[in-house]
């Protein structure tokens, strides 16, 4: 006690902005009541005998928060972890397991599946979740096309570089995984870990940093507990009350688009091959934007994710005529790529001869590239293939707004607070990277903690350099997705269509480039 009483009382940073009652994506009130209790300074906090200490305190028990806790449990079993979740614990598995996949599913890259312990290797098969409750909808190819454009991109697991497609694993680009069973499986593992505690139906009311950054972070929760931790991780979703509380700014582009998603049953004799499909749609009436059809663990079912205008989403979400919706989408998905309208109408005299010649040359060049693509595709079965036919909608229709947001960095408050997952960034679902990005940051964070623990340094040591690297990598993906969206959002611009098509065909032709893209840009499925 003498030690404590001798502690200098540093002026603590009191974060004046109280948590406002905000809602997360599930429409849940996060901080309904505000606590009147304030900690005067961190000396009081340090000597607060009633405070609960944990090495790492994670706020938010979504996939990202749970995955982080699980990773820490596995890699550093002696580290104490506390998880605070606003909702109830996931309900245990229903007795009659539902065969229809829920539309809230994620397309995950092999790396993400690995982080989640879903890629079973020999030693872990018995222990891990693979082949158990979490069912995977593998895919080893993806096809991206745009009607009225001759370009098709097909990626195959064979495009992966050798070390990516590990020999002891099935070759694949990724798998579609349902949110519910995944979170439940992770949660059960956490519950049984001796060093992990969980508070459910609990939100963060207040948080306080030590003035010099060396000290613990103090967190007050709605169940009137005071927690102290060496590392506070905000995995509290897109509305992240912690991010708002810290006043961390995000770069933001609102697309004015929404996504509509639901599960479909396929026609009688159709099964979805292990392929993820995405078509870019143009034209107001059709519902401009990317439309994706994703395989699930059930070969008879697929998930539709359609990112389009709010009017379209509203119209089709509210309609009772699901058959009309199916017909509409069927039409769009069954229309393959076409030849482009010519870049220059070859009416003599319209364009000065020299320019006309140049343009003609450019056009031939583009055509050659396009045709070369088509020719090559025809010979190696990389040409466009019609997706399976849809029969009916078999799930509720969900919608969510689309925005691209990104924080400037993940680490804050002298490395004592870290933002991960949707708390840090959201992206257009077009490329299915949302969760992959979050899990990537989880991996970096865990790696950093493992390294500092190995040499007995504090968790904050070196954290910034690990997270800065990951932030740079994630940000380039985020910008890439944003750029893709901007490019494909442009309609009826013939030169741009040529350019896009040129780009897509070049990508298709150039092996190393395609590999890079499979690796980097589309490590999830493009949808």
């Amino acid at each position: 006690m003498t030690v404590i009483s001798r502690l200098r009382a540093p002026t603590s940073i009191l974060l004046k902005r109280r948590l406002t009652a905000s809602r997360n994506s599930h429409g849940l009130p996060l901080a309904a009541s505000l606590s009147a209790r304030w900690l005067s300074n961190d000396t009081a906090a340090a000597s607060n005998e009633g405070a609960r200490y944990s090495d790492v305190l994670i706020v938010g028990g979504g996939v990202v928060g749970c995955a982080l806790a699980r990773q820490l449990n596995q890699r550093l079993p002696s580290l104490s972890v506390h998880l605070v979740e606003a909702r109830d614990a996931p309900t245990s598995k229903p007795a009659s397991s539902n065969e229809i996949p829920h539309p809230r599913s994620y397309a995950l890259s092999p790396q993400s599946l690995d982080i989640l312990g879903l890629l079973s290797s020999e030693e872990t098969t018995s222990d891990e979740m693979a082949n158990q409750d979490v069912k995977l909808g593998w895919y080893d190819a993806m096809q991206i096309w745009e009607a009225r454009n001759p370009a098709t991109l097909r990626f195959h697991a064979d495009d992966l570089p050798f070390d990516e497609a590990k020999l002891d694993r099935p070759k694949m680009l990724g798998a579609v995984v349902e949110d519910g069973p995944l979170v439940r499986a992770l949660w059960e593992k956490l519950e049984s870990h001796p060093q992990t505690t969980i508070s459910t139906n609990t939100t963060v009311q207040d948080l306080q940093l030590s003035s010099n950054g060396q000290g613990v972070v103090t967190v007050e929760t709605s169940d009137n507990e005071i927690h102290q931790t060496r590392l506070l991780v905000a995995a509290d979703g897109a509305q992240s009350p912690i991010r708002q509380r810290l006043g961390v700014k995000q770069a933001q582009w609102d697309y004015g688009r929404q996504a509509l998603t639901f599960t479909v049953e396929l026609s009688q004799d159709d099964r979805i091959p292990r392929t993820a499909y995405q078509r870019f749609i143009h034209g107001q009436e059709a519902g401009r934007g990317p439309l994706a059809l994703l395989p699930t663990h059930s070969p008879r079912h697929a998930i539709v994710v359609w990112s389009t205008t709010p009017e379209m989403v509203k119209k089709w979400k509210e309609t009772d005529d699901n058959n009309a919706l199916i017909d509409h989408l069927q039409n769009l998905l069954q229309t393959g790529p076409q030849r482009l309208p010519p870049l220059v109408e070859s009416k003599p005299g319209q364009v000065p001869p020299l320019l006309s010649n140049v343009l003609f040359g450019v056009e031939r060049l583009l055509e050659t590239v396009q045709d070369a693509g088509a020719m090559l595709a025809a010979t190696n079965s990389r040409s466009w293939m019609a997706p399976p036919k849809l029969s009916k909608i078999v799930s509720p229709k969900l919608s969510f707004p689309l925005a691209c947001r990104n924080v400037g960095q993940y680490h804050h408050a002298s490395n004592r607070v870290v933002l991960v997952g949707d708390a840090a960034h959201t992206v257009h679902p077009m490329a299915g990277q949302g969760l992959n990005l979050g899990l990537g940051a989880v991996e970096s964070l865990v790696e950093s903690i493992v390294e500092s623990e190995a040499v007995g340094m504090d968790v904050t040591y070196g954290l910034d350099s690990f997270l800065r690297k990951r932030h740079a990598a994630n940000s380039s993906v985020i910008m890439g997705i944003h750029a893709l969206h901007e490019i494909f959002a442009v309609q009826d611009n013939v030169p741009l269509m040529h350019a896009k098509s040129f780009g897509m065909n070049v990508m298709q032709q150039v092996g190393p480039l395609r590999r890079r893209i499979v690796q980097a840009a589309t490590q999830g499925v493009v949808f």
């Binding site: 030690v3 200490y53 090495d55 060396q214 102290q228 060496r230 040499v455 007995g456 340094m457």
Partner: protein, 304 residues
Amino acid sequence: MLSAVRQSHRRVFNSIAASLHRVRNRNSYIGQRYRGASSTSTSISQDEVSKFSGMDKDWWDPSFHPLIAMNPIRIRYILDIVQKQHSATTNHNNPNAPPLHNFKALDVGCGGGLLSESLARLGANVTAIDPSEALVQKAQEHAMQTGDPRLRNIDYRGGLSVEELAATEDDNHPLLFDVVCLLEVLEHASDVASLVQAASSLVKPDTGLLFVSTMNRTWKSHLLTIVGAEYIMGYVPRGTHDWNQYLAPQEVAQTMDGFGMEQVHVSGMVLTKPPLCGQWDWKLDGNDTDVNWIGAYRRRINPT
């Protein structure tokens, strides 16, 4: 010019690493009186105590990066040698136990507690001594403030030299450690032999290890730490280092030999790249002990 340089480093001496505890303003030194028992001989220079005591405020300041950044490789070295030494004798029945579980460690010249904290996190029962009471109090506060429960049991003792600690030992109460650390300490000692003798006497006879890190006295270290770091780059204030206090591994081995200790291993510690933009990135280099180096010693089995 050279003699002027020499004169200036003779006034205040320090190592590169210790210089890291940058003395910002010489006038702000707290005139801390060394409160060691006067009867016990001591290797501690009074100036040094005052100088370091004045640094208690910014010991954990991130601007100490050089020393903080050097700590992980010092620890890696210690763990590596300990593991080799103990692989034959101990069989861990708990694979999850931290690497220094149940080890008794002594950190001589603990300063702000950087090394002590690491040893404690790795499972050791740490005793940490430093002649400066002010610094040790700072170290203690820091350990509490970080909240890490593993740091609560570090036995910090301020105002104590290793000679004084060794003197408290008697046959009925042998004071022996598995690991004794003299890291970045020899260069501050006025009497290296006395320091080494006291530290050696605290090393467990069979399996105990004594670790030393300091700087070698070579033209290269003069160039890098004095001409480069002080005069050209200005990383540290001029006159921070006293090149004459630097020691070669052979010299330390010889002193050790006099007290029944033999060298187990020596390695250099080198920067992987020039420390531009405050990025100090160290690595162990077995071949280059020209500037910073670290070594391990144990009691000689058959004293000759």
